[in-house]
């Protein structure tokens, strides 16, 4: 496990490649394993409060948030993030295998949030492909 999965305290403002919030620890463990040794800087969280604190000091290039979490769902979290932080240069993803309905869907569209399936971030090749695509598009 890298030190990024231990609910890191992010005190200095800087830009990082990826922030992932998912209440499922196994998801964090497999993503951490995939990113181990790569050049992709990342912070992985199970706690929405700590992820929110981290976002106050870090602007990720990619933000991935799980939809179903206890206490707050992914759309509510992203809504709060966008209201509190400047995430205009961040690609925001909601991680779910089912398309949210009703209000959540319209909020997602307003926030410019894209849907992503969990199998994409749990698979080595698709996760690297996603990160590469997004990082390259930011640089060009």
């Amino acid at each position: 496990m890298t030190n990024h999965t231990c609910e890191a305290v992010c005190s200095d403002f800087h830009s990082i490649d990826l922030i992932l919030l998912d209440d499922d620890k196994l998801t964090l463990e497999i993503v951490s394993w995939i990113l181990k040794g790569s050049a992709i800087s990342n912070h992985l969280f199970t706690d929405p409060g700590l992820a929110m604190d981290c976002l106050k000091n870090n602007t990720p290039r990619i933000l991935v948030v799980d939809y179903y979490m206890p206490g707050i769902n992914g759309v509510e979290f992203l809504e709060k993030c966008v209201a509190d932080q400047n995430l205009t240069n961040t690609d925001k993803f909601l991680c779910t295998s089912t398309v949210p309905r009703g209000d959540s869907l319209s909020v997602m569209q307003q926030l410019g949030v894209q849907l992503i399936e969990k199998q994409v971030i749990c698979d080595r090749s698709t996760l690297f492909k996603l990160v590469d695509q997004k990082l390259v598009s930011k640089q060009t």
């Binding site: 089912t98 399936e117 749990c122």
Partner: protein
């Protein structure tokens, strides 16, 4: 009248709640499958690393008994066989979940509309 509209409201709420539970359940199952696939990949790569390591050790040591080397390779093959079957089983599970989802979608959609109406 009020009791009737409250009942209708409760029914609509129940339908929405059931639909949400179904979506969550499907989400959780697919998430677990994705995680299992991820760890299956991780295991394959870890096995490759292990093989590289033991082969480099074997190649650097003189006079490794052929029987020991054979045993090592057999264990390696056993691990890879099981990993292959695990991957096939996960793929089969995914196919079955997708089939179940398709069946649920086709059987529940009219019910929900009827209930909501």
């Amino acid at each position: 009248m009020n009791a009737g509209s409250e009942d209708a409201g409760t029914q609509v709420h129940d339908v929405a709640s059931k639909a949400n539970d179904r979506m969550r359940s499907s989400h959780d199952i697919k998430a677990s499958l994705a995680i299992a696939n991820g760890f299956s990949q991780a295991l394959e790569l870890a096995l490759d690393d292990l093989q590289d390591s033991y082969l480099s050790i074997v190649n650097s040591v003189d006079n490794v008994p052929a029987s020991k080397l054979q045993l090592l390779k057999q264990h390696d093959n056993d691990c890879r066989f099981c990993l292959g079957r695990l991957s096939s089983s996960l793929q089969q599970l995914k196919t079955r979940i997708d089939q179940c989802d398709a069946l649920k979608d086709s059987s529940h959609a009219p019910d929900e509309q009827d209930d909501a109406a």
